[in-house]
Symmetry: D2
Protein backbone atom coordinates (compact mmCIF):
# COMPACT_ATOMS: atom_id res chain seq x y z
CA UNK A 1 0.00 0.00 0.00
CA UNK A 2 1.23 3.42 -0.87
CA UNK A 3 1.81 5.89 1.89
CA UNK A 4 -1.36 7.99 1.77
CA UNK A 5 0.81 11.11 1.66
CA UNK A 6 2.71 10.03 -1.43
CA UNK A 7 1.65 12.42 -4.20
CA UNK A 8 -0.35 10.63 -6.84
CA UNK A 9 -1.20 13.42 -9.24
CA UNK A 10 0.12 16.56 -10.88
CA UNK A 11 3.83 17.15 -11.41
CA UNK A 12 4.72 14.78 -8.57
CA UNK A 13 3.06 11.92 -10.43
CA UNK A 14 4.49 13.04 -13.78
CA UNK A 15 8.05 13.06 -12.49
CA UNK A 16 7.37 10.03 -10.34
CA UNK A 17 9.03 10.69 -7.01
CA UNK A 18 7.74 9.10 -3.82
CA UNK A 19 7.68 10.25 -0.22
CA UNK A 20 10.03 8.21 1.97
CA UNK A 21 9.98 10.13 5.25
CA UNK A 22 8.31 13.26 6.57
CA UNK A 23 8.68 14.61 10.09
CA UNK A 24 9.15 17.92 11.86
CA UNK A 25 11.85 19.89 9.98
CA UNK A 26 12.87 16.97 7.75
CA UNK A 27 11.65 15.23 4.61
CA UNK A 28 12.97 12.58 2.27
CA UNK A 29 11.81 11.56 -1.20
CA UNK A 30 13.13 9.12 -3.79
CA UNK A 31 13.03 8.73 -7.55
CA UNK A 32 13.96 5.88 -9.84
CA UNK A 33 15.71 7.48 -12.81
CA UNK A 34 14.35 6.27 -16.13
CA UNK A 35 14.76 7.27 -19.78
CA UNK A 36 12.00 9.85 -19.40
CA UNK A 37 14.16 11.82 -16.94
CA UNK A 38 17.18 12.27 -19.22
CA UNK A 39 18.38 15.25 -21.22
CA UNK A 40 19.83 15.25 -24.73
CA UNK A 41 23.24 14.25 -23.30
CA UNK A 42 21.84 11.05 -21.79
CA UNK A 43 22.05 12.06 -18.14
CA UNK A 44 19.32 13.20 -15.76
CA UNK A 45 17.98 16.63 -16.77
CA UNK A 46 18.93 19.42 -14.39
CA UNK A 47 15.22 20.01 -13.88
CA UNK A 48 14.93 16.64 -12.15
CA UNK A 49 17.27 17.47 -9.27
CA UNK A 50 15.76 20.96 -9.07
CA UNK A 51 12.28 19.43 -8.82
CA UNK A 52 13.33 16.98 -6.12
CA UNK A 53 15.03 19.72 -4.10
CA UNK A 54 12.20 22.22 -4.44
CA UNK A 55 9.84 19.51 -3.26
CA UNK A 56 11.79 18.05 -0.37
CA UNK A 57 13.06 21.38 0.96
CA UNK A 58 9.54 22.78 0.85
CA UNK A 59 8.22 19.68 2.63
CA UNK A 60 10.85 20.09 5.35
CA UNK A 61 9.18 23.28 6.53
CA UNK A 62 5.59 22.13 6.11
CA UNK A 63 5.19 19.00 8.20
CA UNK A 64 1.90 19.08 10.11
CA UNK A 65 1.27 16.59 12.90
CA UNK A 66 -2.43 17.37 13.18
CA UNK A 67 -4.67 14.89 11.28
CA UNK A 68 -6.74 16.50 8.53
CA UNK A 69 -4.65 19.65 8.47
CA UNK A 70 -1.77 20.77 6.27
CA UNK A 71 0.79 23.55 6.02
CA UNK A 72 1.45 25.26 2.72
CA UNK A 73 4.27 27.47 1.52
CA UNK A 74 5.49 29.03 -1.70
CA UNK A 75 9.11 28.97 -2.80
CA UNK A 76 10.70 32.42 -2.87
CA UNK A 77 14.16 31.39 -3.97
CA UNK A 78 15.93 28.11 -4.74
CA UNK A 79 19.57 27.50 -5.60
CA UNK A 80 20.84 24.17 -6.90
CA UNK A 81 24.50 23.23 -7.27
CA UNK A 82 25.06 20.31 -9.62
CA UNK A 83 27.89 18.11 -8.43
CA UNK A 84 27.52 14.74 -10.12
CA UNK A 85 25.80 13.27 -13.18
CA UNK A 86 23.20 10.52 -13.02
CA UNK A 87 22.24 7.90 -15.57
CA UNK A 88 19.08 5.88 -16.02
CA UNK A 89 18.69 2.79 -13.85
CA UNK A 90 19.74 4.42 -10.61
CA UNK A 91 17.71 5.67 -7.66
CA UNK A 92 18.00 9.21 -6.34
CA UNK A 93 17.32 10.04 -2.70
CA UNK A 94 16.68 13.67 -1.77
CA UNK A 95 16.72 14.92 1.81
CA UNK A 96 15.60 18.34 3.01
CA UNK A 97 16.12 20.01 6.37
CA UNK A 98 14.50 23.17 7.72
CA UNK A 99 17.39 25.22 9.13
CA UNK A 100 15.76 28.45 10.24
CA UNK A 101 12.94 30.94 9.97
CA UNK A 102 9.78 31.72 11.89
CA UNK A 103 6.08 32.18 11.24
CA UNK A 104 6.45 34.04 7.96
CA UNK A 105 9.34 32.46 6.12
CA UNK A 106 11.54 29.43 6.52
CA UNK A 107 14.92 28.33 5.19
CA UNK A 108 15.78 24.82 4.10
CA UNK A 109 18.79 22.99 2.80
CA UNK A 110 19.42 19.52 1.48
CA UNK A 111 20.95 17.30 -1.13
CA UNK A 112 20.30 14.66 -3.73
CA UNK A 113 22.37 11.49 -3.57
CA UNK A 114 22.73 8.65 -6.06
CA UNK A 115 24.26 5.15 -5.92
CA UNK A 116 26.53 4.59 -2.89
CA UNK A 117 25.49 7.93 -1.48
CA UNK A 118 27.39 9.91 -4.10
CA UNK A 119 26.45 13.58 -4.05
CA UNK A 120 24.46 14.55 -7.13
CA UNK A 121 23.29 18.03 -6.17
CA UNK A 122 22.87 20.30 -3.19
CA UNK A 123 20.15 22.86 -2.71
CA UNK A 124 19.08 25.70 -0.46
CA UNK A 125 16.31 28.24 -0.47
CA UNK A 126 13.69 30.36 1.22
CA UNK A 127 9.95 29.75 1.46
CA UNK A 128 7.05 31.94 2.52
CA UNK A 129 4.25 30.34 4.53
CA UNK A 130 0.77 30.80 3.15
CA UNK A 131 -1.67 32.47 5.54
CA UNK A 132 -2.24 30.26 8.57
CA UNK A 133 0.55 27.82 7.72
CA UNK A 134 3.18 29.54 9.84
CA UNK A 135 1.69 27.76 12.84
CA UNK A 136 2.47 24.08 13.44
CA UNK A 137 -1.27 23.43 13.52
CA UNK A 138 -1.61 24.47 9.87
CA UNK A 139 -4.93 24.86 8.09
CA UNK A 140 -7.73 22.46 7.14
CA UNK A 141 -6.62 20.16 4.34
CA UNK A 142 -9.40 21.40 2.08
Amino acid sequence: MLDPQTPKHGFAALVGYRLVDWQEDRAEIALDVEARHLNRSGIAHGGVAATLLDTVLGYAGCHCAVPGRVRRAVTLSLTVNYIGAVEAGTTLVAVGRRVGGGRRVFYAEGEVRGPDGALVATGSGVWRYRDGSGSPEGVPAE
Copy 2:
Protein backbone atom coordinates in the same frame (compact mmCIF):
# COMPACT_ATOMS: atom_id res chain seq x y z
CA MET B 1 5.75 20.16 -38.83
CA LEU B 2 7.70 20.34 -35.64
CA ASP B 3 10.94 22.24 -35.57
CA PRO B 4 13.48 19.42 -35.92
CA GLN B 5 15.32 20.81 -32.91
CA THR B 6 12.32 20.57 -30.61
CA PRO B 7 13.12 17.86 -28.08
CA LYS B 8 10.89 14.85 -28.56
CA HIS B 9 12.10 12.51 -25.87
CA GLY B 10 13.38 12.31 -22.32
CA PHE B 11 12.49 14.89 -19.71
CA ALA B 12 11.80 17.51 -22.38
CA ALA B 13 9.02 15.37 -23.78
CA LEU B 14 7.75 14.42 -20.34
CA VAL B 15 7.41 18.04 -19.25
CA GLY B 16 6.29 19.05 -22.73
CA TYR B 17 8.09 22.30 -23.50
CA ARG B 18 8.86 23.29 -27.08
CA LEU B 19 11.69 25.24 -28.64
CA VAL B 20 10.53 28.63 -29.96
CA ASP B 21 13.78 30.34 -30.86
CA TRP B 22 17.49 29.48 -30.68
CA GLN B 23 20.28 31.70 -31.87
CA GLU B 24 23.73 32.85 -30.79
CA ASP B 25 23.55 33.69 -27.05
CA ARG B 26 19.74 33.48 -26.86
CA ALA B 27 17.06 30.82 -26.60
CA GLU B 28 13.32 30.75 -26.02
CA ILE B 29 11.03 27.87 -25.10
CA ALA B 30 7.33 27.63 -24.27
CA LEU B 31 5.08 25.36 -22.24
CA ASP B 32 1.31 25.01 -22.03
CA VAL B 33 0.54 24.53 -18.36
CA GLU B 34 -1.76 21.57 -17.72
CA ALA B 35 -2.98 19.65 -14.69
CA ARG B 36 0.09 17.43 -14.83
CA HIS B 37 2.32 20.42 -14.06
CA LEU B 38 0.62 21.44 -10.82
CA ASN B 39 1.61 20.93 -7.20
CA ARG B 40 -0.65 20.04 -4.27
CA SER B 41 -1.69 23.70 -3.97
CA GLY B 42 -3.07 23.78 -7.52
CA ILE B 43 -0.41 26.00 -9.06
CA ALA B 44 2.54 25.11 -11.27
CA HIS B 45 5.14 23.13 -9.32
CA GLY B 46 8.37 25.03 -8.64
CA GLY B 47 10.16 22.31 -10.54
CA VAL B 48 8.46 23.42 -13.74
CA ALA B 49 9.96 26.91 -13.80
CA ALA B 50 13.30 25.48 -12.66
CA THR B 51 13.22 22.99 -15.52
CA LEU B 52 12.35 25.66 -18.08
CA LEU B 53 15.10 27.94 -16.81
CA ASP B 54 17.77 25.24 -16.60
CA THR B 55 16.88 24.30 -20.17
CA VAL B 56 16.66 27.71 -21.79
CA LEU B 57 19.67 29.20 -19.99
CA GLY B 58 21.75 26.19 -20.93
CA TYR B 59 20.59 26.47 -24.56
CA ALA B 60 21.56 30.14 -24.58
CA GLY B 61 25.23 29.21 -24.31
CA CYS B 62 25.12 26.19 -26.62
CA HIS B 63 23.82 27.39 -29.96
CA CYS B 64 25.83 25.88 -32.81
CA ALA B 65 25.48 27.26 -36.32
CA VAL B 66 27.33 24.38 -37.98
CA PRO B 67 25.01 21.70 -39.43
CA GLY B 68 25.44 18.28 -37.88
CA ARG B 69 27.33 19.61 -34.89
CA VAL B 70 26.24 20.51 -31.36
CA ARG B 71 27.60 22.14 -28.23
CA ARG B 72 27.06 20.57 -24.84
CA ALA B 73 27.39 21.92 -21.33
CA VAL B 74 26.60 20.84 -17.78
CA THR B 75 24.93 23.09 -15.26
CA LEU B 76 27.20 23.98 -12.35
CA SER B 77 24.78 26.22 -10.45
CA LEU B 78 21.24 27.49 -11.00
CA THR B 79 19.24 29.96 -8.93
CA VAL B 80 15.53 30.52 -9.43
CA ASN B 81 13.53 33.32 -7.84
CA TYR B 82 9.78 32.66 -7.84
CA ILE B 83 7.82 35.84 -8.38
CA GLY B 84 4.33 34.86 -9.53
CA ALA B 85 2.07 31.83 -9.42
CA VAL B 86 0.71 30.10 -12.51
CA GLU B 87 -2.46 28.08 -12.99
CA ALA B 88 -3.39 25.47 -15.55
CA GLY B 89 -4.62 26.74 -18.91
CA THR B 90 -1.91 29.33 -19.38
CA THR B 91 1.22 29.33 -21.52
CA LEU B 92 4.66 30.00 -20.10
CA VAL B 93 7.42 31.52 -22.19
CA ALA B 94 11.01 31.22 -20.96
CA VAL B 95 13.87 33.26 -22.41
CA GLY B 96 17.56 32.74 -21.71
CA ARG B 97 20.52 34.98 -22.52
CA ARG B 98 24.23 34.16 -22.33
CA VAL B 99 25.75 37.11 -20.47
CA GLY B 100 29.40 36.17 -20.10
CA GLY B 101 32.08 33.52 -19.95
CA GLY B 102 34.64 32.04 -22.31
CA ARG B 103 35.72 28.65 -23.60
CA ARG B 104 35.41 26.84 -20.28
CA VAL B 105 32.32 28.21 -18.56
CA PHE B 106 29.46 30.49 -19.44
CA TYR B 107 26.91 32.52 -17.49
CA ALA B 108 23.27 32.90 -18.45
CA GLU B 109 20.24 34.73 -17.15
CA GLY B 110 16.60 34.78 -18.07
CA GLU B 111 13.02 34.68 -16.98
CA VAL B 112 9.71 32.87 -17.29
CA ARG B 113 6.65 34.91 -18.18
CA GLY B 114 2.98 34.03 -18.12
CA PRO B 115 -0.18 35.66 -19.48
CA ASP B 116 0.27 39.31 -20.48
CA GLY B 117 4.01 38.99 -19.93
CA ALA B 118 3.67 38.79 -16.14
CA LEU B 119 6.92 37.72 -14.50
CA VAL B 120 6.65 34.21 -13.07
CA ALA B 121 10.28 33.50 -12.23
CA THR B 122 13.79 34.70 -12.94
CA GLY B 123 16.88 32.57 -13.14
CA SER B 124 20.63 32.77 -13.41
CA GLY B 125 23.46 30.31 -13.36
CA VAL B 126 26.81 29.00 -14.52
CA TRP B 127 27.55 26.19 -16.97
CA ARG B 128 30.71 24.30 -17.86
CA TYR B 129 31.27 23.39 -21.50
CA ARG B 130 31.95 19.75 -22.20
CA ASP B 131 35.21 19.05 -23.99
CA GLY B 132 35.19 20.60 -27.45
CA SER B 133 31.98 22.55 -26.88
CA GLY B 134 33.73 25.74 -25.81
CA SER B 135 34.29 26.49 -29.48
CA PRO B 136 31.42 27.84 -31.63
CA GLU B 137 32.02 24.93 -34.00
CA GLY B 138 31.04 22.43 -31.32
CA VAL B 139 31.39 18.69 -31.73
CA PRO B 140 29.80 16.09 -34.05
CA ALA B 141 26.16 15.53 -33.08
CA GLU B 142 26.85 11.85 -32.54
Copy 3:
Protein backbone atom coordinates in the same frame (compact mmCIF):
# COMPACT_ATOMS: atom_id res chain seq x y z
CA MET C 1 28.67 68.66 -1.11
CA LEU C 2 27.87 65.03 -0.62
CA ASP C 3 24.41 63.79 -1.43
CA PRO C 4 22.80 63.70 2.01
CA GLN C 5 21.69 60.14 1.34
CA THR C 6 25.22 58.90 0.68
CA PRO C 7 26.07 56.58 3.59
CA LYS C 8 28.81 58.08 5.73
CA HIS C 9 29.21 55.47 8.43
CA GLY C 10 29.22 51.75 9.14
CA PHE C 11 30.10 49.18 6.50
CA ALA C 12 29.15 51.59 3.72
CA ALA C 13 31.85 53.99 4.83
CA LEU C 14 34.34 51.20 5.46
CA VAL C 15 33.96 49.80 1.95
CA GLY C 16 33.59 53.28 0.53
CA TYR C 17 30.80 53.10 -2.02
CA ARG C 18 28.71 56.15 -2.85
CA LEU C 19 25.09 56.59 -3.88
CA VAL C 20 24.77 57.74 -7.50
CA ASP C 21 21.05 57.46 -8.16
CA TRP C 22 18.00 56.32 -6.19
CA GLN C 23 14.46 56.37 -7.48
CA GLU C 24 11.35 54.21 -7.43
CA ASP C 25 12.43 50.60 -8.17
CA ARG C 26 16.00 51.53 -9.14
CA ALA C 27 19.27 52.39 -7.43
CA GLU C 28 22.86 52.93 -8.51
CA ILE C 29 26.04 53.07 -6.45
CA ALA C 30 29.73 53.39 -7.35
CA LEU C 31 33.05 52.37 -5.83
CA ASP C 32 36.63 53.29 -6.67
CA VAL C 33 38.61 50.08 -6.32
CA GLU C 34 41.74 50.51 -4.22
CA ALA C 35 44.35 48.22 -2.68
CA ARG C 36 42.16 47.76 0.39
CA HIS C 37 39.51 46.00 -1.73
CA LEU C 38 41.77 43.28 -3.14
CA ASN C 39 42.15 39.63 -2.21
CA ARG C 40 45.36 37.61 -1.97
CA SER C 41 45.35 37.16 -5.76
CA GLY C 42 45.47 40.91 -6.38
CA ILE C 43 41.94 41.33 -7.72
CA ALA C 44 38.84 42.71 -6.02
CA HIS C 45 37.65 40.36 -3.26
CA GLY C 46 34.41 38.56 -4.04
CA GLY C 47 32.94 40.19 -0.96
CA VAL C 48 33.18 43.57 -2.65
CA ALA C 49 30.81 42.77 -5.50
CA ALA C 50 28.54 40.91 -3.07
CA THR C 51 28.43 43.97 -0.82
CA LEU C 52 27.66 46.30 -3.72
CA LEU C 53 24.90 44.02 -4.98
CA ASP C 54 23.33 43.41 -1.58
CA THR C 55 23.28 47.16 -1.08
CA VAL C 56 22.00 48.33 -4.44
CA LEU C 57 19.42 45.58 -4.86
CA GLY C 58 18.10 46.27 -1.38
CA TYR C 59 17.95 49.99 -2.13
CA ALA C 60 15.99 49.28 -5.32
CA GLY C 61 13.03 48.10 -3.29
CA CYS C 62 13.27 50.70 -0.53
CA HIS C 63 13.07 54.10 -2.20
CA CYS C 64 10.78 56.41 -0.23
CA ALA C 65 9.60 59.66 -1.77
CA VAL C 66 8.23 61.08 1.47
CA PRO C 67 10.65 63.46 3.23
CA GLY C 68 11.71 62.29 6.68
CA ARG C 69 10.56 58.77 6.11
CA VAL C 70 12.39 55.61 5.04
CA ARG C 71 11.68 52.05 4.02
CA ARG C 72 13.68 49.17 5.47
CA ALA C 73 14.09 45.56 4.41
CA VAL C 74 16.21 42.57 5.30
CA THR C 75 17.86 40.35 2.73
CA LEU C 76 16.46 36.83 2.68
CA SER C 77 18.59 35.43 -0.13
CA LEU C 78 21.27 36.81 -2.45
CA THR C 79 23.02 35.09 -5.35
CA VAL C 80 26.06 36.56 -7.05
CA ASN C 81 27.58 35.27 -10.28
CA TYR C 82 31.16 36.40 -10.81
CA ILE C 83 31.87 37.08 -14.46
CA GLY C 84 34.94 39.30 -14.66
CA ALA C 85 37.91 40.23 -12.48
CA VAL C 86 38.68 43.78 -11.38
CA GLU C 87 41.98 45.39 -10.45
CA ALA C 88 42.77 48.43 -8.34
CA GLY C 89 42.47 51.82 -10.04
CA THR C 90 39.14 51.15 -11.68
CA THR C 91 35.63 52.30 -10.78
CA LEU C 92 32.76 49.88 -10.30
CA VAL C 93 29.16 50.87 -10.96
CA ALA C 94 26.38 48.72 -9.50
CA VAL C 95 22.77 49.01 -10.60
CA GLY C 96 19.78 47.38 -8.93
CA ARG C 97 16.22 46.99 -10.17
CA ARG C 98 13.15 45.86 -8.24
CA VAL C 99 11.49 43.29 -10.51
CA GLY C 100 8.58 42.02 -8.45
CA GLY C 101 6.95 41.45 -5.11
CA GLY C 102 4.33 43.16 -3.00
CA ARG C 103 3.90 44.48 0.52
CA ARG C 104 5.74 41.66 2.25
CA VAL C 105 8.68 40.72 0.05
CA PHE C 106 10.34 42.10 -3.04
CA TYR C 107 12.68 40.71 -5.68
CA ALA C 108 15.57 42.62 -7.21
CA GLU C 109 18.19 42.02 -9.85
CA GLY C 110 21.20 43.92 -11.05
CA GLU C 111 24.82 43.92 -12.04
CA VAL C 112 28.23 45.39 -11.35
CA ARG C 113 30.13 46.84 -14.28
CA GLY C 114 33.74 47.96 -14.57
CA PRO C 115 35.72 49.94 -17.16
CA ASP C 116 33.94 50.29 -20.52
CA GLY C 117 30.83 48.75 -19.03
CA ALA C 118 32.36 45.29 -18.81
CA LEU C 119 30.25 42.92 -16.73
CA VAL C 120 31.94 42.09 -13.43
CA ALA C 121 29.11 40.34 -11.60
CA THR C 122 25.37 39.85 -11.70
CA GLY C 123 23.11 39.45 -8.70
CA SER C 124 19.57 38.60 -7.73
CA GLY C 125 17.72 38.07 -4.51
CA VAL C 126 14.70 38.37 -2.27
CA TRP C 127 14.07 40.84 0.53
CA ARG C 128 11.47 41.01 3.29
CA TYR C 129 10.08 44.43 4.21
CA ARG C 130 10.30 45.38 7.85
CA ASP C 131 6.98 46.21 9.47
CA GLY C 132 5.49 49.30 7.87
CA SER C 133 8.02 49.45 5.06
CA GLY C 134 5.87 47.52 2.58
CA SER C 135 3.98 50.73 1.93
CA PRO C 136 5.54 53.44 -0.32
CA GLU C 137 5.08 55.89 2.55
CA GLY C 138 7.49 53.94 4.73
CA VAL C 139 8.13 54.72 8.39
CA PRO C 140 9.61 57.68 10.26
CA ALA C 141 13.36 57.92 9.68
CA GLU C 142 14.06 57.61 13.38
Copy 4:
Protein backbone atom coordinates in the same frame (compact mmCIF):
# COMPACT_ATOMS: atom_id res chain seq x y z
CA MET D 1 51.93 35.88 17.32
CA LEU D 2 49.47 35.88 14.52
CA ASP D 3 49.09 32.79 12.44
CA PRO D 4 51.31 33.60 9.43
CA GLN D 5 48.44 32.65 7.15
CA THR D 6 46.05 35.17 8.63
CA PRO D 7 45.48 37.82 5.94
CA LYS D 8 46.97 41.14 6.96
CA HIS D 9 46.20 43.32 3.98
CA GLY D 10 43.61 44.11 1.35
CA PHE D 11 39.91 43.48 1.92
CA ALA D 12 40.65 40.83 4.55
CA ALA D 13 42.39 43.45 6.70
CA LEU D 14 39.75 46.07 5.96
CA VAL D 15 36.91 43.82 7.09
CA GLY D 16 39.07 42.36 9.84
CA TYR D 17 38.38 38.64 9.83
CA ARG D 18 41.01 36.18 11.05
CA LEU D 19 41.86 32.65 10.04
CA VAL D 20 40.98 30.14 12.77
CA ASP D 21 41.51 26.82 11.07
CA TRP D 22 42.52 25.62 7.61
CA GLN D 23 42.91 22.02 6.57
CA GLU D 24 42.11 19.76 3.64
CA ASP D 25 38.51 20.52 2.54
CA ARG D 26 37.71 22.73 5.56
CA ALA D 27 38.35 26.27 6.72
CA GLU D 28 37.17 28.47 9.58
CA ILE D 29 37.44 32.21 10.07
CA ALA D 30 36.14 34.61 12.71
CA LEU D 31 35.15 38.27 12.91
CA ASP D 32 34.43 40.54 15.85
CA VAL D 33 31.45 42.65 14.77
CA GLU D 34 31.99 46.36 15.38
CA ALA D 35 30.20 49.56 14.44
CA ARG D 36 32.08 49.66 11.14
CA HIS D 37 30.33 46.46 10.03
CA LEU D 38 26.77 47.69 10.46
CA ASN D 39 24.21 48.90 7.93
CA ARG D 40 21.78 51.81 8.28
CA SER D 41 19.44 49.60 10.33
CA GLY D 42 22.08 48.98 12.98
CA ILE D 43 22.74 45.31 12.21
CA ALA D 44 25.64 43.70 10.36
CA HIS D 45 25.55 44.60 6.66
CA GLY D 46 24.63 41.71 4.38
CA GLY D 47 27.98 42.21 2.71
CA VAL D 48 29.74 41.07 5.86
CA ALA D 49 28.28 37.57 5.89
CA ALA D 50 28.72 37.37 2.11
CA THR D 51 32.38 38.31 2.48
CA LEU D 52 32.96 35.77 5.23
CA LEU D 53 31.27 33.02 3.23
CA ASP D 54 33.02 33.83 -0.05
CA THR D 55 36.30 33.73 1.84
CA VAL D 56 35.85 30.60 3.92
CA LEU D 57 34.17 28.56 1.21
CA GLY D 58 36.93 29.49 -1.21
CA TYR D 59 39.57 28.56 1.35
CA ALA D 60 37.89 25.19 1.88
CA GLY D 61 38.87 24.13 -1.62
CA CYS D 62 42.33 25.69 -1.65
CA HIS D 63 44.23 24.23 1.26
CA CYS D 64 47.78 23.35 0.23
CA ALA D 65 49.94 21.20 2.47
CA VAL D 66 53.17 21.88 0.58
CA PRO D 67 55.32 24.63 2.16
CA GLY D 68 55.86 27.63 -0.08
CA ARG D 69 53.06 26.70 -2.43
CA VAL D 70 49.43 27.82 -2.66
CA ARG D 71 46.23 26.97 -4.51
CA ARG D 72 44.12 29.70 -6.04
CA ALA D 73 40.56 29.75 -7.30
CA VAL D 74 38.00 32.26 -8.51
CA THR D 75 34.41 32.28 -7.36
CA LEU D 76 31.96 31.46 -10.14
CA SER D 77 28.75 31.65 -8.10
CA LEU D 78 27.87 32.30 -4.48
CA THR D 79 24.46 32.14 -2.80
CA VAL D 80 23.87 33.45 0.70
CA ASN D 81 20.70 32.87 2.73
CA TYR D 82 20.30 35.31 5.61
CA ILE D 83 18.73 33.66 8.61
CA GLY D 84 19.50 35.81 11.63
CA ALA D 85 20.54 39.37 12.39
CA VAL D 86 23.75 40.32 14.19
CA GLU D 87 24.56 43.35 16.30
CA ALA D 88 27.86 44.94 17.22
CA GLY D 89 29.78 43.38 20.11
CA THR D 90 29.36 39.79 18.99
CA THR D 91 31.76 37.42 17.27
CA LEU D 92 30.91 35.63 14.05
CA VAL D 93 32.41 32.27 13.17
CA ALA D 94 32.25 31.10 9.56
CA VAL D 95 32.96 27.52 8.51
CA GLY D 96 33.37 26.27 4.95
CA ARG D 97 33.47 22.72 3.62
CA ARG D 98 34.46 21.49 0.17
CA VAL D 99 31.69 19.08 -0.82
CA GLY D 100 32.59 18.08 -4.36
CA GLY D 101 34.35 18.80 -7.61
CA GLY D 102 37.59 17.79 -9.27
CA ARG D 103 40.61 19.39 -10.86
CA ARG D 104 38.72 22.16 -12.64
CA VAL D 105 35.97 23.32 -10.30
CA PHE D 106 34.98 22.69 -6.72
CA TYR D 107 31.80 23.12 -4.68
CA ALA D 108 31.70 24.36 -1.12
CA GLU D 109 29.07 24.97 1.53
CA GLY D 110 29.09 26.48 4.96
CA GLU D 111 27.53 28.80 7.47
CA VAL D 112 28.07 31.80 9.68
CA ARG D 113 27.16 31.46 13.34
CA GLY D 114 26.85 34.07 16.07
CA PRO D 115 26.50 33.94 19.86
CA ASP D 116 25.55 30.51 21.21
CA GLY D 117 25.99 29.03 17.76
CA ALA D 118 22.88 30.72 16.38
CA LEU D 119 22.68 30.46 12.60
CA VAL D 120 23.27 33.85 10.96
CA ALA D 121 23.64 32.84 7.33
CA THR D 122 24.28 29.83 5.14
CA GLY D 123 26.17 29.83 1.88
CA SER D 124 27.03 27.63 -1.07
CA GLY D 125 28.83 28.12 -4.33
CA VAL D 126 31.11 26.98 -7.10
CA TRP D 127 34.76 27.90 -7.70
CA ARG D 128 37.08 27.43 -10.65
CA TYR D 129 40.71 26.53 -9.93
CA ARG D 130 43.30 28.77 -11.49
CA ASP D 131 45.79 26.99 -13.74
CA GLY D 132 47.87 24.56 -11.72
CA SER D 133 45.77 24.89 -8.58
CA GLY D 134 43.56 21.91 -9.34
CA SER D 135 46.34 19.71 -8.01
CA PRO D 136 46.89 19.37 -4.22
CA GLU D 137 50.50 20.47 -4.80
CA GLY D 138 49.36 23.88 -5.99
CA VAL D 139 51.70 26.47 -7.47
CA PRO D 140 54.62 28.49 -6.10
CA ALA D 141 53.40 31.11 -3.64
CA GLU D 142 54.80 33.92 -5.76
